[in-house]
Symmetry: C2
Subunit: 238 residues, 2 copies
């Protein structure tokens, strides 16, 4: 992709990070596979993922997003499903799954580096991501992408209010703002609500909680792309 | 304390939050007492706090600061000290200790409200705090203090680089900046290093990791006060 962007109608382009710039959700899926292996001695049932998901949602309002809360939810699920019989060593293995997740290498998605390079100097670029402050900062540093961005905004929730606050902070009107992300619920719909432009690049795997109705997405007015590689060509067609 | 500040030599006054604006460390101590009670069936020894502290420090570079990392460290300590014999129900009790910590009411320290009221309009006020993004935002909201502050900066580490970045961001020179906090290591020494003014208000309890040498503190040039009540009178004496 050598294409350079034409004169862009946007002053500020914001990118989501997890599953937009780099692989994330598949790592969580792999962690759940490991949890299933750890609990295989105790459980016959296939109900693990359902119970874990329910527990994660319940805990979201206490823990917020991120790996540490997910790890605590895995432990609670293990205690619940084994009726307290889970062994200490297996609890430690679950914590080690969480630690591995926090340390796993950052794998960039295809087209990300080329796209950011091409956009340099044509618009201000920022990251808007939610999750653990410490974990997200560490991933941004390890990704090698930090220098492309004017600022990395790590927020606890991606509501329309959050986006409105960030637009004010970065002194940009909604009609000069573009958000690029994979999550309908967090990256696309709240930004559409403010009348700003959005590019939706669905990830191969998206956390159930972040998913949205296909009809809603079609009505949202977002531009849907298959990969980051398509972003510059799409912007040039505008 | 009705005293109004005279013309202040500072444009921006930053406050640490935990144990500067509100009670925090005593809640962690109480959690450790509960952990001790939970593990009393398994342990005779008094080594719990030592092992927990060692584990917390080890985990700091993986988890960062905050309650969720502390909870995971409590669980690891329980598994280690009971040699894996800790029961599932007791693991759940430890997680519940962490959840209670995340939900505990915010108790303001004495003189905080009056001081912030008196400073209103005389300098720009911000919070600089480290820890879990979600937890800190929630405490700021529950404290009722948010409106006194122009911005709340939640950072993953309080290094001289962090403070220098925040001074640039808030467009203030070090000689017009004052930091008020309880932790020598996080609030005072890195700010002194940049040549800015500091007020040290030691808390009744400070986490061991945040403590510093008395001699170092005397040499640092910080102003030491016994309580937030003394801040305005001290500024007026300058």
């Amino acid at each position: 992709m050598k294409t350079k962007p034409k004169r862009l109608p946007y002053e500020l382009i914001a990118f989501d990070a997890d599953d937009t710039l780099w692989v994330n959700e598949p790592l969580y899926h792999r962690s759940q596979d490991t949890l299933e292996e750890i609990l295989t001695d105790y459980l016959e049932s296939r109900e693990l993922r359902r119970v874990l998901y329910r527990r994660e949602i319940e805990n979201l309002k206490i823990f917020g997003y991120g790996v540490k809360g997910f790890t605590l939810s895995m432990i609670e699920t293990a205690v619940e499903l084994t009726e307290g019989k889970v062994r200490g060593e297996d609890i430690q293995r679950i914590i080690d799954v969480g630690k591995a997740l926090l340390r796993s290498p950052v794998t960039l998605l295809e087209g990300v580096v080329e796209t950011l390079q091409a956009l340099q100097g044509h618009a201000r670029l920022i990251i808007i991501t939610k999750g653990d402050l410490f974990d997200q900062e560490s991933k941004i540093a390890r990704s090698g992408l930090a220098d492309y961005f004017e600022e990395c905004e790590i927020v606890s929730d991606k509501s329309p209010e959050t986006y409105a606050r960030l637009m004010r902070k970065h002194k940009v009107d909604p009609d000069k703002f573009l958000m690029v992300g994979n999550s309908p619920k967090s990256d696309i719909l709240p930004v559409c609500e403010l009348g700003a432009a959005t590019v939706w690049i669905p990830a191969q795997a998206t956390w159930e909680h972040e998913d949205a109705d296909e009809t809603v997405m079609n009505a949202s007015g977002c531009l849907r792309l298959a990969s980051m590689r398509e972003l510059i060509p799409a912007l040039n067609q505008d």
